[in-house]
Symmetry: C2
Subunit: 166 residues, 2 copies
């Protein structure tokens, strides 16, 4: 994806010009299309650097979240809630992580229906390496200075404001 | 996805605080995670309003691009290049659009190996309705004013700058 030859023009800029000519205000279309494209570029980059560790970005996020928990374990339901993904996606990610020996599933002593995920020592090691790999590429955002990052975070935060009430 | 109850806190903000505590600078992680989440929210929203038209956002983009072409038709290879998607994805999208009667495939008179896509009259009608549906929700970005949009577009443009040379 990132390996194709660059186009001699910005395709989103061009789409915006044509949109204005044929449809009308292009400001939201240009931004939405940019977000789609940047997400695609970032995820391709993340998956590329995580592939040697047999991880995807989605599975990295699960490892990271569990590692941050106070007791070193989290109920599967909470993982889905925090990462804002469907319960099925969490189950799939956990299945893969258990199969690769990075995560353990443990039932609650009090409530046997509640299942926790915790990291194995392999899981902790792989998470450290994955974190380093992503930090080494600065999460694909090395072109942005501190001001750009703060602006981007704040503007995007208002788009995702329905996710939380604070 | 957008229908779940809001969390009592911003999960990306919280992840950032924990990241700073356990890992280090969280500025790129916070922005990258925000882009992932906003893309997920937007695509869910687009697919929701396009579903009654039996379209996805990816197929909408194909229709839009073809409709903007000077001659009303585009080679499949150019569609992939402009939308920056894999040739297989273009073929799949075109197959679906042909099956629903929105697009016609026509070979070039000069070069029989070159295949063009053009819109049927149904295709043009559905594209108009899809465009209106997306404009009605302001591409999911109604919370952003003109200044936010310009900032967002410009900062994201530098992240995707390897796509084009201009």
């Amino acid at each position: 994806m990132g390996d194709r030859a660059p186009l001699p023009f910005d395709p989103i800029e061009r789409a915006g010009i044509l949109w204005e000519k044929h449809v009308g205000d292009a400001s939201s279309m240009r931004v939405a299309t940019s977000i789609m494209r940047v997400q695609q570029l970032l995820i391709a980059e993340f998956d590329r650097v995580l592939k040697p560790l047999d991880l995807t970005f989605a599975r990295f996020e699960v490892l990271r979240l569990v590692s941050f928990s106070r007791e070193g374990r989290l109920p599967l339901s909470i993982i889905g809630e925090r990462l804002m993904v469907h319960p099925t996606s969490v189950t799939n990610a956990i299945d893969r992580l258990v199969a690769s020996g990075l995560v353990m599933r443990t039932p609650d002593d009090q409530d046997r229906r509640r299942v926790y995920a915790s990291l194995t020592s392999d899981g902790k090691r792989v998470l450290r390496r994955a974190t380093k790999a992503l930090m080494d590429i600065d999460f694909g955002l090395a072109t942005l200075d501190g001001r750009d990052r703060a602006q981007l975070f704040n503007v995007l935060r208002s788009v995702r404001s329905a996710d939380f009430s604070d």
